[in-house]
Amino acid sequence: MKEFKREDGRKVDELRPVVIKVGVIEQADGSALVSMGKTTAIAAVYGPRSMHPKHKQVSDRAVLQTFYLMAPFSTNERVRPGPSRRSQEISKVTREALEPAVFLDEFPKTGIDVFIDIIQADAGTRTAGINAASVALADAGIPMRDLVAAVAAGRIEEHFVLDLGGKEEEVTKCDIPVAYMPRKKQITLLQMDGDLSPEETKEVIKTAIKGCEILYEKQKQALREKWVR
Protein backbone atom coordinates (compact mmCIF):
# COMPACT_ATOMS: atom_id res chain seq x y z
CA MET A 1 0.00 0.00 0.00
CA LYS A 2 3.04 2.23 0.47
CA GLU A 3 3.79 2.68 -3.22
CA PHE A 4 0.40 4.06 -4.25
CA LYS A 5 0.87 7.69 -5.19
CA ARG A 6 -2.01 10.12 -4.90
CA GLU A 7 -2.25 12.91 -7.40
CA ASP A 8 -1.25 15.52 -4.91
CA GLY A 9 1.41 13.34 -3.31
CA ARG A 10 -0.55 12.65 -0.14
CA LYS A 11 -0.44 9.37 1.71
CA VAL A 12 -3.63 7.31 1.50
CA ASP A 13 -4.62 8.25 5.04
CA GLU A 14 -3.53 11.85 4.87
CA LEU A 15 -5.90 14.79 4.93
CA ARG A 16 -5.57 17.70 2.55
CA PRO A 17 -4.09 20.82 4.18
CA VAL A 18 -6.63 21.95 6.74
CA VAL A 19 -7.25 25.55 7.79
CA ILE A 20 -9.74 26.36 10.54
CA LYS A 21 -10.48 29.94 11.51
CA VAL A 22 -12.94 30.81 14.25
CA GLY A 23 -14.99 33.99 14.40
CA VAL A 24 -14.72 35.11 10.80
CA ILE A 25 -18.16 36.76 10.51
CA GLU A 26 -18.40 39.69 12.87
CA GLN A 27 -22.20 39.96 12.65
CA ALA A 28 -22.84 36.34 13.54
CA ASP A 29 -23.23 34.86 17.02
CA GLY A 30 -20.65 32.27 16.04
CA SER A 31 -18.75 31.55 12.87
CA ALA A 32 -15.93 29.58 11.32
CA LEU A 33 -14.08 29.08 8.08
CA VAL A 34 -12.82 25.62 7.19
CA SER A 35 -10.59 24.92 4.21
CA MET A 36 -9.72 21.39 3.19
CA GLY A 37 -7.41 21.73 0.21
CA LYS A 38 -9.18 23.92 -2.29
CA THR A 39 -12.57 23.47 -0.69
CA THR A 40 -13.58 26.32 1.59
CA ALA A 41 -16.74 26.52 3.69
CA ILE A 42 -17.84 29.41 5.87
CA ALA A 43 -20.46 28.79 8.54
CA ALA A 44 -22.32 31.37 10.57
CA VAL A 45 -24.64 30.67 13.48
CA TYR A 46 -27.45 33.02 14.47
CA GLY A 47 -29.31 32.11 17.62
CA PRO A 48 -30.79 30.94 19.81
CA ARG A 49 -33.26 33.59 18.68
CA SER A 50 -37.02 33.81 18.23
CA MET A 51 -38.09 31.19 15.76
CA HIS A 52 -38.76 32.17 12.18
CA PRO A 53 -41.04 31.08 10.56
CA LYS A 54 -43.11 31.08 13.72
CA HIS A 55 -45.29 28.07 12.93
CA LYS A 56 -42.18 25.88 13.11
CA GLN A 57 -41.60 26.81 16.76
CA VAL A 58 -41.46 23.81 19.13
CA SER A 59 -42.49 24.15 22.77
CA ASP A 60 -39.84 22.01 24.43
CA ARG A 61 -36.70 22.55 22.41
CA ALA A 62 -34.84 24.76 19.95
CA VAL A 63 -35.27 24.10 16.27
CA LEU A 64 -32.03 23.76 14.36
CA GLN A 65 -32.19 24.95 10.77
CA THR A 66 -29.36 24.53 8.30
CA PHE A 67 -28.92 26.20 4.95
CA TYR A 68 -26.19 24.97 2.60
CA LEU A 69 -25.42 27.21 -0.36
CA MET A 70 -22.76 27.19 -3.06
CA ALA A 71 -21.45 30.53 -4.23
CA PRO A 72 -21.94 30.85 -8.00
CA PHE A 73 -18.18 31.19 -8.54
CA SER A 74 -17.17 28.23 -6.39
CA THR A 75 -16.88 25.67 -9.22
CA ASN A 76 -15.72 25.43 -12.82
CA GLU A 77 -19.25 25.55 -14.18
CA ARG A 78 -20.97 28.53 -12.59
CA VAL A 79 -23.61 27.48 -10.07
CA ARG A 80 -27.02 29.03 -10.62
CA PRO A 81 -28.03 30.94 -7.47
CA GLY A 82 -30.91 29.57 -5.43
CA PRO A 83 -31.65 26.18 -3.88
CA SER A 84 -31.27 23.02 -5.95
CA ARG A 85 -32.42 19.51 -5.14
CA ARG A 86 -28.82 18.68 -4.25
CA SER A 87 -28.43 21.65 -1.90
CA GLN A 88 -31.73 20.90 -0.21
CA GLU A 89 -30.70 17.31 0.47
CA ILE A 90 -27.33 18.45 1.81
CA SER A 91 -29.04 21.00 4.07
CA LYS A 92 -31.13 18.15 5.50
CA VAL A 93 -28.30 15.68 6.11
CA THR A 94 -26.14 18.46 7.51
CA ARG A 95 -28.86 19.33 10.00
CA GLU A 96 -29.15 15.66 10.96
CA ALA A 97 -25.37 15.44 11.32
CA LEU A 98 -25.35 18.31 13.81
CA GLU A 99 -28.53 17.65 15.78
CA PRO A 100 -27.14 14.72 17.79
CA ALA A 101 -24.45 17.03 19.16
CA VAL A 102 -26.52 20.00 20.25
CA PHE A 103 -28.45 20.32 23.52
CA LEU A 104 -31.54 21.65 21.79
CA ASP A 105 -33.79 21.24 24.82
CA GLU A 106 -31.95 23.99 26.64
CA PHE A 107 -33.56 26.65 24.45
CA PRO A 108 -37.25 25.85 24.07
CA LYS A 109 -39.27 27.76 21.45
CA THR A 110 -36.18 29.28 19.86
CA GLY A 111 -34.48 28.80 16.54
CA ILE A 112 -30.81 28.19 15.89
CA ASP A 113 -29.91 28.93 12.30
CA VAL A 114 -26.75 27.63 10.70
CA PHE A 115 -25.82 29.09 7.34
CA ILE A 116 -23.09 27.41 5.34
CA ASP A 117 -21.62 29.08 2.28
CA ILE A 118 -19.27 27.10 0.08
CA ILE A 119 -17.03 29.68 -1.51
CA GLN A 120 -14.58 27.24 -3.09
CA ALA A 121 -15.54 23.73 -4.12
CA ASP A 122 -13.12 20.94 -4.90
CA ALA A 123 -14.77 17.80 -3.44
CA GLY A 124 -15.95 17.31 0.10
CA THR A 125 -18.06 20.44 0.40
CA ARG A 126 -20.69 18.90 2.68
CA THR A 127 -18.09 17.59 5.13
CA ALA A 128 -16.17 20.86 5.10
CA GLY A 129 -19.48 22.59 5.79
CA ILE A 130 -20.22 20.32 8.75
CA ASN A 131 -16.76 20.94 10.18
CA ALA A 132 -17.25 24.67 9.91
CA ALA A 133 -20.79 24.52 11.30
CA SER A 134 -19.74 22.47 14.30
CA VAL A 135 -17.00 24.95 15.20
CA ALA A 136 -19.34 27.88 14.60
CA LEU A 137 -21.92 26.39 16.98
CA ALA A 138 -19.25 26.06 19.65
CA ASP A 139 -18.09 29.60 18.90
CA ALA A 140 -21.66 30.79 19.43
CA GLY A 141 -21.56 29.27 22.89
CA ILE A 142 -24.27 26.72 22.15
CA PRO A 143 -23.87 23.82 24.59
CA MET A 144 -22.85 20.65 22.77
CA ARG A 145 -22.37 17.01 23.68
CA ASP A 146 -19.32 16.88 21.43
CA LEU A 147 -17.89 18.52 18.35
CA VAL A 148 -18.81 16.93 15.05
CA ALA A 149 -15.94 16.28 12.66
CA ALA A 150 -16.54 15.14 9.10
CA VAL A 151 -14.61 13.88 6.12
CA ALA A 152 -15.16 11.55 3.19
CA ALA A 153 -13.18 8.45 2.31
CA GLY A 154 -13.15 6.26 -0.77
CA ARG A 155 -11.48 3.37 -2.49
CA ILE A 156 -9.11 3.86 -5.40
CA GLU A 157 -7.68 0.70 -6.88
CA GLU A 158 -7.22 -1.45 -3.81
CA HIS A 159 -6.52 1.43 -1.46
CA PHE A 160 -8.70 2.95 1.19
CA VAL A 161 -8.21 6.63 0.64
CA LEU A 162 -8.96 9.46 3.03
CA ASP A 163 -10.35 12.87 2.10
CA LEU A 164 -10.88 12.58 -1.65
CA GLY A 165 -9.77 15.53 -3.77
CA GLY A 166 -11.58 16.82 -6.84
CA LYS A 167 -10.04 14.41 -9.35
CA GLU A 168 -10.04 11.48 -6.96
CA GLU A 169 -13.77 11.89 -6.58
CA GLU A 170 -14.11 11.02 -10.27
CA VAL A 171 -12.10 7.78 -10.09
CA THR A 172 -13.05 6.40 -6.68
CA LYS A 173 -15.17 3.27 -6.52
CA CYS A 174 -17.15 4.88 -3.79
CA ASP A 175 -17.51 8.14 -1.95
CA ILE A 176 -18.52 7.86 1.68
CA PRO A 177 -18.88 11.08 3.65
CA VAL A 178 -18.92 10.49 7.38
CA ALA A 179 -19.57 12.82 10.29
CA TYR A 180 -18.47 11.63 13.69
CA MET A 181 -18.50 12.62 17.35
CA PRO A 182 -15.15 11.21 18.50
CA ARG A 183 -15.73 11.37 22.24
CA LYS A 184 -19.08 9.63 21.88
CA LYS A 185 -17.84 7.34 19.09
CA GLN A 186 -21.08 8.03 17.25
CA ILE A 187 -21.66 8.50 13.54
CA THR A 188 -24.01 11.36 12.71
CA LEU A 189 -23.71 11.47 8.91
CA LEU A 190 -23.31 8.50 6.63
CA GLN A 191 -23.94 8.50 2.94
CA MET A 192 -22.50 6.54 0.08
CA ASP A 193 -22.33 6.54 -3.64
CA GLY A 194 -20.51 3.54 -5.01
CA ASP A 195 -20.38 -0.20 -5.44
CA LEU A 196 -18.44 -2.07 -2.83
CA SER A 197 -18.67 -5.17 -0.66
CA PRO A 198 -19.95 -4.71 2.88
CA GLU A 199 -16.50 -5.49 4.30
CA GLU A 200 -14.81 -2.94 2.12
CA THR A 201 -17.52 -0.44 2.88
CA LYS A 202 -16.78 -0.85 6.59
CA GLU A 203 -13.08 -0.29 5.95
CA VAL A 204 -13.82 2.93 4.09
CA ILE A 205 -15.99 4.10 6.96
CA LYS A 206 -13.20 3.30 9.42
CA THR A 207 -10.77 5.25 7.25
CA ALA A 208 -13.10 8.24 7.37
CA ILE A 209 -13.48 7.92 11.14
CA LYS A 210 -9.72 8.12 11.56
CA GLY A 211 -9.75 11.29 9.52
CA CYS A 212 -12.52 12.69 11.69
CA GLU A 213 -10.38 12.08 14.76
CA ILE A 214 -7.54 14.13 13.30
CA LEU A 215 -9.93 16.92 12.28
CA TYR A 216 -11.44 16.90 15.74
CA GLU A 217 -8.10 17.80 17.26
CA LYS A 218 -7.70 20.63 14.76
CA GLN A 219 -11.18 21.91 15.57
CA LYS A 220 -10.47 21.93 19.28
CA GLN A 221 -7.10 23.59 18.68
CA ALA A 222 -8.72 26.37 16.61
CA LEU A 223 -11.36 27.01 19.27
CA ARG A 224 -8.76 27.05 21.97
CA GLU A 225 -6.73 29.62 20.07
CA LYS A 226 -9.71 31.92 19.75
CA TRP A 227 -10.72 31.54 23.35
CA VAL A 228 -7.23 32.11 24.64
CA ARG A 229 -6.60 35.15 22.49
Binding site: E89, P100, L190, Q191, M192, G194, D195, P198, T201, K202
Partner: protein, 260 residues
Protein backbone atom coordinates in the same frame (compact mmCIF):
# COMPACT_ATOMS: atom_id res chain seq x y z
CA UNK B 1 -50.32 10.06 21.13
CA UNK B 2 -47.68 10.44 23.82
CA UNK B 3 -48.95 7.36 25.61
CA UNK B 4 -48.87 5.38 22.37
CA UNK B 5 -45.32 6.52 21.72
CA UNK B 6 -44.25 5.39 25.15
CA UNK B 7 -46.02 2.07 24.66
CA UNK B 8 -44.24 1.43 21.34
CA UNK B 9 -40.88 2.41 22.85
CA UNK B 10 -41.50 0.17 25.80
CA UNK B 11 -42.24 -2.78 23.57
CA UNK B 12 -39.18 -2.01 21.44
CA UNK B 13 -36.92 -2.12 24.46
CA UNK B 14 -38.06 -5.74 24.75
CA UNK B 15 -37.56 -6.17 20.97
CA UNK B 16 -41.31 -6.39 20.48
CA UNK B 17 -43.68 -4.55 18.13
CA UNK B 18 -47.31 -3.46 18.36
CA UNK B 19 -48.29 -5.66 15.41
CA UNK B 20 -46.34 -8.61 16.76
CA UNK B 21 -43.84 -8.68 13.91
CA UNK B 22 -40.27 -9.84 14.41
CA UNK B 23 -37.48 -7.27 14.32
CA UNK B 24 -36.56 -8.08 10.74
CA UNK B 25 -40.05 -8.93 9.55
CA UNK B 26 -41.72 -6.89 6.82
CA UNK B 27 -45.43 -6.34 6.54
CA UNK B 28 -47.01 -8.08 3.54
CA UNK B 29 -45.41 -7.01 0.28
CA UNK B 30 -47.27 -7.04 -3.00
CA UNK B 31 -45.77 -6.04 -6.32
CA UNK B 32 -47.90 -5.47 -9.42
CA UNK B 33 -46.33 -4.40 -12.70
CA UNK B 34 -47.78 -2.90 -15.85
CA UNK B 35 -50.46 -1.05 -13.93
CA UNK B 36 -50.35 2.20 -15.94
CA UNK B 37 -51.32 1.85 -19.61
CA UNK B 38 -49.53 4.95 -20.93
CA UNK B 39 -46.32 4.45 -18.99
CA UNK B 40 -43.42 2.57 -20.57
CA UNK B 41 -43.09 0.66 -17.33
CA UNK B 42 -44.94 0.84 -14.05
CA UNK B 43 -45.29 -0.92 -10.74
CA UNK B 44 -47.54 -0.61 -7.74
CA UNK B 45 -45.90 -1.75 -4.52
CA UNK B 46 -47.76 -2.20 -1.28
CA UNK B 47 -45.97 -2.82 1.99
CA UNK B 48 -48.74 -3.24 4.50
CA UNK B 49 -50.92 -0.18 4.03
CA UNK B 50 -48.16 1.83 2.37
CA UNK B 51 -48.81 2.13 -1.35
CA UNK B 52 -46.55 3.55 -4.02
CA UNK B 53 -46.71 3.68 -7.80
CA UNK B 54 -43.61 4.19 -9.91
CA UNK B 55 -43.97 4.99 -13.58
CA UNK B 56 -41.28 5.04 -16.26
CA UNK B 57 -41.63 7.47 -19.15
CA UNK B 58 -39.12 7.81 -21.98
CA UNK B 59 -38.32 10.52 -24.44
CA UNK B 60 -35.48 11.56 -26.70
CA UNK B 61 -33.18 14.40 -25.74
CA UNK B 62 -29.58 15.60 -25.72
CA UNK B 63 -26.95 13.76 -23.67
CA UNK B 64 -25.18 15.61 -20.88
CA UNK B 65 -21.94 17.19 -22.20
CA UNK B 66 -19.84 15.24 -19.71
CA UNK B 67 -21.47 11.92 -20.71
CA UNK B 68 -21.94 12.34 -24.45
CA UNK B 69 -22.49 8.62 -25.12
CA UNK B 70 -24.93 7.78 -22.37
CA UNK B 71 -28.62 7.92 -21.63
CA UNK B 72 -30.12 10.35 -19.17
CA UNK B 73 -31.84 9.13 -16.01
CA UNK B 74 -34.11 11.37 -13.95
CA UNK B 75 -35.83 10.12 -10.83
CA UNK B 76 -38.40 12.29 -9.14
CA UNK B 77 -40.90 11.87 -6.33
CA UNK B 78 -44.09 13.68 -5.47
CA UNK B 79 -45.74 13.16 -2.14
CA UNK B 80 -49.29 13.58 -3.39
CA UNK B 81 -51.50 15.21 -0.73
CA UNK B 82 -53.82 12.28 -1.41
CA UNK B 83 -51.53 10.10 0.67
CA UNK B 84 -51.61 11.59 4.12
CA UNK B 85 -53.38 14.20 6.23
CA UNK B 86 -49.91 15.52 7.05
CA UNK B 87 -49.29 16.53 3.45
CA UNK B 88 -52.03 19.19 3.75
CA UNK B 89 -49.70 22.15 4.00
CA UNK B 90 -48.00 21.50 0.73
CA UNK B 91 -45.86 18.46 0.07
CA UNK B 92 -42.85 17.99 2.37
CA UNK B 93 -40.30 18.95 -0.25
CA UNK B 94 -37.28 17.99 1.78
CA UNK B 95 -38.39 14.40 2.40
CA UNK B 96 -39.57 13.93 -1.18
CA UNK B 97 -36.26 15.21 -2.53
CA UNK B 98 -34.25 12.97 -0.23
CA UNK B 99 -36.35 9.93 -1.11
CA UNK B 100 -35.92 10.49 -4.84
CA UNK B 101 -32.21 11.09 -4.50
CA UNK B 102 -31.63 7.96 -2.40
CA UNK B 103 -33.57 5.82 -4.88
CA UNK B 104 -31.71 7.52 -7.73
CA UNK B 105 -28.30 6.79 -6.23
CA UNK B 106 -29.12 3.12 -5.70
CA UNK B 107 -30.11 2.70 -9.35
CA UNK B 108 -27.38 4.90 -10.77
CA UNK B 109 -24.44 3.67 -8.70
CA UNK B 110 -25.31 0.00 -9.12
CA UNK B 111 -25.19 0.40 -12.88
CA UNK B 112 -28.67 -1.12 -12.93
CA UNK B 113 -29.26 0.37 -16.37
CA UNK B 114 -26.66 -0.01 -19.09
CA UNK B 115 -26.65 3.70 -19.87
CA UNK B 116 -24.35 3.41 -22.89
CA UNK B 117 -26.96 1.34 -24.70
CA UNK B 118 -29.44 4.20 -24.43
CA UNK B 119 -27.41 6.59 -26.56
CA UNK B 120 -28.86 7.04 -30.03
CA UNK B 121 -26.24 9.36 -31.50
CA UNK B 122 -23.22 10.49 -29.53
CA UNK B 123 -23.38 14.09 -28.30
CA UNK B 124 -26.68 14.60 -30.07
CA UNK B 125 -29.51 12.24 -29.25
CA UNK B 126 -30.12 9.88 -26.44
CA UNK B 127 -32.97 8.21 -24.62
CA UNK B 128 -34.05 9.96 -21.48
CA UNK B 129 -35.55 7.76 -18.78
CA UNK B 130 -37.85 9.42 -16.26
CA UNK B 131 -38.89 7.47 -13.20
CA UNK B 132 -41.65 9.21 -11.30
CA UNK B 133 -42.60 7.99 -7.87
CA UNK B 134 -46.12 8.69 -6.72
CA UNK B 135 -47.00 8.02 -3.09
CA UNK B 136 -50.63 6.92 -2.78
CA UNK B 137 -50.84 6.01 0.88
CA UNK B 138 -48.21 6.86 3.45
CA UNK B 139 -48.15 4.29 6.21
CA UNK B 140 -44.43 4.14 6.88
CA UNK B 141 -41.21 2.98 5.17
CA UNK B 142 -41.63 5.00 2.01
CA UNK B 143 -38.04 4.69 0.76
CA UNK B 144 -38.10 0.90 0.62
CA UNK B 145 -41.47 0.89 -1.13
CA UNK B 146 -40.39 3.58 -3.58
CA UNK B 147 -37.08 1.90 -4.35
CA UNK B 148 -38.77 -1.43 -4.97
CA UNK B 149 -41.47 0.10 -7.16
CA UNK B 150 -38.89 2.00 -9.19
CA UNK B 151 -36.70 -0.98 -9.99
CA UNK B 152 -39.76 -3.15 -10.72
CA UNK B 153 -41.04 -0.50 -13.14
CA UNK B 154 -37.67 -0.28 -14.87
CA UNK B 155 -37.26 -4.05 -15.11
CA UNK B 156 -40.62 -4.44 -16.84
CA UNK B 157 -40.47 -1.31 -19.01
CA UNK B 158 -40.76 -1.53 -22.79
CA UNK B 159 -39.07 1.11 -24.89
CA UNK B 160 -41.09 3.17 -27.40
CA UNK B 161 -39.78 3.50 -30.95
CA UNK B 162 -37.85 6.47 -32.23
CA UNK B 163 -38.37 7.51 -35.82
CA UNK B 164 -35.10 9.21 -36.77
CA UNK B 165 -36.49 10.58 -40.03
CA UNK B 166 -39.41 12.36 -38.45
CA UNK B 167 -37.61 13.01 -35.20
CA UNK B 168 -40.63 11.75 -33.28
CA UNK B 169 -41.23 9.06 -30.68
CA UNK B 170 -43.99 6.55 -31.27
CA UNK B 171 -45.59 5.40 -28.06
CA UNK B 172 -47.86 2.99 -29.90
CA UNK B 173 -45.18 0.43 -30.57
CA UNK B 174 -43.22 -0.77 -27.60
CA UNK B 175 -41.21 -3.95 -27.93
CA UNK B 176 -37.69 -3.86 -26.58
CA UNK B 177 -36.94 -4.04 -22.89
CA UNK B 178 -34.65 -1.55 -21.24
CA UNK B 179 -31.01 -2.73 -21.00
CA UNK B 180 -31.11 -3.70 -17.32
CA UNK B 181 -28.15 -5.28 -15.55
CA UNK B 182 -28.87 -5.26 -11.82
CA UNK B 183 -31.67 -5.11 -9.28
CA UNK B 184 -30.68 -2.73 -6.47
CA UNK B 185 -33.01 -2.91 -3.47
CA UNK B 186 -32.97 -0.37 -0.62
CA UNK B 187 -33.69 -1.64 2.88
CA UNK B 188 -34.08 0.85 5.68
CA UNK B 189 -33.00 -0.19 9.16
CA UNK B 190 -34.37 1.92 11.97
CA UNK B 191 -33.63 2.12 15.64
CA UNK B 192 -36.11 2.20 18.52
CA UNK B 193 -35.02 1.93 22.14
CA UNK B 194 -31.52 0.81 21.17
CA UNK B 195 -32.68 -2.06 18.98
CA UNK B 196 -32.72 -2.29 15.20
CA UNK B 197 -35.86 -3.11 13.26
CA UNK B 198 -36.99 -3.26 9.64
CA UNK B 199 -40.04 -1.84 7.89
CA UNK B 200 -41.54 0.61 10.39
CA UNK B 201 -45.20 1.40 10.19
CA UNK B 202 -46.28 5.00 10.65
CA UNK B 203 -46.57 4.77 14.44
CA UNK B 204 -43.11 3.27 14.69
CA UNK B 205 -41.62 5.92 12.44
CA UNK B 206 -42.96 8.47 14.91
CA UNK B 207 -40.81 7.11 17.72
CA UNK B 208 -37.75 6.53 15.54
CA UNK B 209 -35.02 9.10 15.60
CA UNK B 210 -32.42 7.45 13.43
CA UNK B 211 -32.41 5.13 10.46
CA UNK B 212 -29.99 3.81 7.85
CA UNK B 213 -30.99 2.96 4.32
CA UNK B 214 -28.69 0.38 2.75
CA UNK B 215 -29.13 -0.36 -0.93
CA UNK B 216 -27.60 -3.64 -2.06
CA UNK B 217 -27.40 -5.19 -5.48
CA UNK B 218 -27.50 -8.76 -6.81
CA UNK B 219 -23.90 -9.61 -5.92
CA UNK B 220 -24.32 -8.47 -2.34
CA UNK B 221 -22.41 -5.24 -2.83
CA UNK B 222 -23.59 -2.03 -1.22
CA UNK B 223 -24.34 0.72 -3.71
CA UNK B 224 -25.88 3.45 -1.57
CA UNK B 225 -26.15 4.44 2.06
CA UNK B 226 -28.19 7.17 3.70
CA UNK B 227 -28.42 7.83 7.39
CA UNK B 228 -31.61 9.67 8.31
CA UNK B 229 -32.95 11.25 11.46
CA UNK B 230 -31.68 13.41 14.25
CA UNK B 231 -29.78 10.82 16.26
CA UNK B 232 -26.54 8.96 15.72
CA UNK B 233 -25.35 5.39 15.13
CA UNK B 234 -22.38 3.41 16.35
CA UNK B 235 -20.13 1.51 13.95
CA UNK B 236 -21.46 -1.75 15.40
CA UNK B 237 -25.01 -0.71 14.66
CA UNK B 238 -24.01 0.12 11.12
CA UNK B 239 -22.43 -3.30 10.66
CA UNK B 240 -25.55 -4.93 12.02
CA UNK B 241 -27.64 -2.82 9.65
CA UNK B 242 -25.54 -4.04 6.71
CA UNK B 243 -26.30 -7.64 7.64
CA UNK B 244 -30.02 -7.04 8.03
CA UNK B 245 -30.26 -5.17 4.76
CA UNK B 246 -28.21 -7.66 2.82
CA UNK B 247 -30.34 -10.57 3.97
CA UNK B 248 -33.67 -8.87 3.46
CA UNK B 249 -32.51 -7.32 0.18
CA UNK B 250 -31.77 -10.79 -1.18
CA UNK B 251 -35.21 -12.03 -0.12
CA UNK B 252 -37.00 -9.12 -1.75
CA UNK B 253 -34.91 -9.49 -4.89
CA UNK B 254 -36.27 -13.01 -5.19
CA UNK B 255 -39.80 -11.73 -4.84
CA UNK B 256 -39.02 -9.18 -7.52
CA UNK B 257 -37.75 -11.83 -9.91
CA UNK B 258 -41.19 -13.42 -10.01
CA UNK B 259 -42.49 -10.30 -11.72
CA UNK B 260 -40.04 -9.96 -14.59
Amino acid sequence: MIIQKQFISGLASRKMRIDKRGQDEFRDITIETGVIAKAEGSARVKIGKTEVIAGVKMGVGTPFPDRPDEGVLMIGAEFSPIASPDFEKGPPAEDAIELARVVDRGIRESGAIDMKKLCIKEKEKTWMVFVDIHILNHAGNLIDAAGLASIAALLTAKMPEYDEEAGTVSYEKKHKKLPMKFKPVPITVFKMSDSLFLDPNLEEEDVTSVSLTVTTKDDGNIVALQKGGSQSLSLEEIEKAFELSLKKGAEIRKLLEKHI
